[in-house]
Symmetry: C2
Subunit: 456 residues, 2 copies
């Protein structure tokens, strides 16, 4: 990056808000994918106006700009693959407004998701989306990727909570989209065009979020099955009459990985696990729980039903679920983790496919995820130092994607496309769709400076 | 329209599926606005392929094409203001698939909203959006306008139920958007770009809808207040801890209009009414109802609380609500009906503004609508034969819009922009937003043949 550009950036954000030292650049070169691309500079803007000036400058000099939240993305959304400038948005972390009466919050993009939850809780309010990284990921990143989480089965994903945005466009113009009301249909839906656009259309600088009432009670139940098929069938039946706030599953391999973490002895015949959570106020949870008991009592295919009696037992059950990812590295040192979705009735087919691929490619492959919405995390374990395993892993991933699309699923549920899935976009989207999407990209970013190299 | 175009259209849809007779054209010249624009021809396509051919032809000859469902729109979305061809989609009325296990329906655009509700009910499924016209409006129109309804306070609007679309573009290409799964973030959100785009970006030919479980019980409660302010305050308080499926209000004038329709004597001091509905299964409704009773018992500002004891009483209470619109014509022969939204805490200000405008412009003005989401229908009554009233009505409308925007509201909640609000778009949207939206329109429809004259 030319020194006059560096100076111009310093003039905009302040000399102490621009980093070009190699060791500092390293800190902004990675994300949840484990891949690394080093930027040329990192700016720490503190206002929409500064970002507008930066984008005007970047447009004039055709400098790539990559917005970055916490760098916790799973598909490379915040990696500066074409070099250029990282916009580190961590200093834009103010909760600008909590409108208690209208159940709305207005935040800057660098607010950590969990912090918003904490801030609104004392007011009896709730921001439902709960990506696994919620203690450190940012709302700007959540919006850019349309993050989900276990609670999506009841509450929906980030998209369902964003009412409006402020965005700085590639040319520096400031765009306000959407509304701060519960409804709104004025003009084209620019808000949702930016949601999930992974920083490729503009820089999100403000987010208007819908909140709900906070559930004050919950109930956690673990169910074991001899096979994935009856577990999936139970999910479909359960969702007809019950509204769990979480409905997670582990397949046979995933269950085996955490058997010793469970607060009870895992029956030998258990090959699939469901973790169900109900939430609401105390009375409502009691009623839901009693209704769910009646439902479960009629299902003899359940090997074991374990209810958490207290917060410690809840924690123990969730511990097992959360231990899957770390325990996986006992199998192999590296992991290809894919976030895919199938119609929830097709989960058994998808699990069977993963098992078949595991045998065919001689790599451990296991699945777990959000059974309620068919959003599954498929983990292909391998050793990246072994070229044969790298090749097999890549082939297994592509075969998996083909199966997902055959099952009328989609290649990403909540992690986005970024760089890890960009080569596969044409498997799911038609030429017409790709053409329209590329034209949209060009409309918003004719110089291709907004997070170049992503999605397409 | 040239005779060779007419012939080419007949070749596509069949001679008996194209109308050019003046008396037939009349039937497709109006909508819910009462305005009239006569098309040059009406085609009744029966497949995506036919529509694709029609659009290819229309592009080659620069013929305006206006998709039309039931013609029940409130802002002129289906009116052929530039002449050309009406695509009457009523024959594309097949429910293509109901996927019970995954709670998904795939429909053609001409399916009547209420028919889908009826079709899925026996399976224990539910399509929540309930525009007032649901017995005759079509799902294609609902998607094009992003229709809402009373149940939006609990269930959301059309946007929240559309997973994916098939759309024929202006140039005849067929585009598939979205997913048939619960989650999906692959590429830009084209689905929601089409939702609410009022037929200006393409012709919707297929809709993938998310369904929910059907509520089997409900409870209806009517509340009266001496003023709008305590009613609105109660709404905000209620929504913190309760989840009504409907939360409608009538202001003082609206209440007066239907006083004689109520199944009880209206207390003289009653100046505002709330209609609350709870739904769910029997046990859940009983619990919700008992909790709501406790809540209401603590609110001494409620003049009267009337619970419907049986379906007849429910019907009587709703009768009163539904009688507002027809009864309004006792005041004046014509009506300007505006669908606006304010943060729900601002409803009292909006109601006060309507009363003030009524005095200032010497026209009856009253409001009613969806108190739970601040989506209000403002009715300015006038006599169109009286030029002074027409002028006053127009001024009152513009003053109303200014107040709505001052209250941080939006000019349309569920009826769209069409032609009736197009002149006011610049009041709400910035130059940057309008520029982007017009560029989007140009991207999808460079010849401006898709429903020209709408929105902008």
């Amino acid at each position: 990056m030319d020194s006059h550009i560096i100076q111009a950036l310093k003039d905009i954000v302040g000399a102490d808000r621009l980093e070009t030292a190699a060791e500092e650049l390293q800190c902004y070169s990675y994300d949840g994918t484990g891949q690394q691309f080093v930027p040329e500079a990192v700016a720490f803007p503190e206002s929409t106006e500064q970002i507008s000036k930066i984008m005007t400058l970047a447009s004039a000099s055709a400098i790539p700009v990559v917005p970055r939240g916490a760098g916790s993305g799973m598909t490379g959304g915040s990696l500066p693959v074409a070099g250029g400038l990282i916009l580190a948005l961590g200093r834009m972390n103010r909760i600008l407004e909590i409108d208690e009466e209208n159940q709305i919050a207005i935040v800057e993009p660098g607010v950590i998701t969990g912090k918003l939850r904490e801030a609104v809780a004392p007011l009896g309010l709730f921001y439902p989306p709960d990506p696994a990284s919620l203690k450190f990921c940012t709302l700007g990143g959540n919006v850019a990727e349309c993050a989900g989480g276990p609670s999506a089965v009841k509450y929906g994903v980030t998209r369902d909570y964003v009412l409006g945005l402020e965005v700085v466009l590639a040319d520096g113009r400031i765009l306000e989209t959407g509304v701060r009301t519960r409804k709104g249909v004025v003009g084209y839906d620019l808000t949702r065009l930016f949601i999930g656009s992974e920083g490729t259309l503009g820089v999100i600088t403000k987010i208007i979020l819908r909140l709900t009432s906070r559930p004050t009670a919950s109930k956690t139940i673990l169910l074991l099955f001899a096979d994935m098929a009856p577990a999936a069938a139970l999910v479909a039946a359960m969702l007809k009459e019950h509204t769990p706030s979480t409905l997670e599953y582990l397949d046979n391999t995933a269950l085996g990985l955490v058997a010793d973490k469970l607060p009870f002895v895992l029956p030998a015949e258990a090959k699939a696990m469901l973790l169900v959570e109900l939430d609401g106020d105390g009375q409502s949870v009691a009623l839901q729980s009693s209704r769910l008991d009646d439902f479960l009592a009629g299902h003899k295919e359940i090997l074991l039903c374990k209810k958490a009696a207290n917060p410690e037992e809840v924690e123990a059950l969730w511990m097992a679920r959360r231990s899957v990812s770390p325990a996986a590295f006992n199998l192999k040192p590296d992991k290809i983790s894919e976030d895919i979705v199938v119609p929830r009735s097709k989960i058994p087919e998808l699990v069977a496919c993963a098992e078949e691929l595991s045998k065919r490619f001689k790599l451990p492959i296991f699945t777990f995820g959000h059974a309620g919405d068919g959003n599954i995390h498929v983990n292909i374990m391998l050793d990246k130092a072994n070229p044969e395993e790298v090749s097999s892993g890549a082939q297994a991933k592509e075969a998996l994607f083909r199966e997902v699309l055959d099952l009328k699923g989609t290649l990403s549920g909540e992690h986005g496309i970024g760089i890890t899935k960009a080569p596969f976009l044409g498997m799911e989207l038609s030429e017409t769709s790709l053409d329209i999407q590329q034209q949209l990209k060009k409309l918003f970013d004719p110089l291709n400076i907004m997070n170049p190299g992503k999605i397409f």
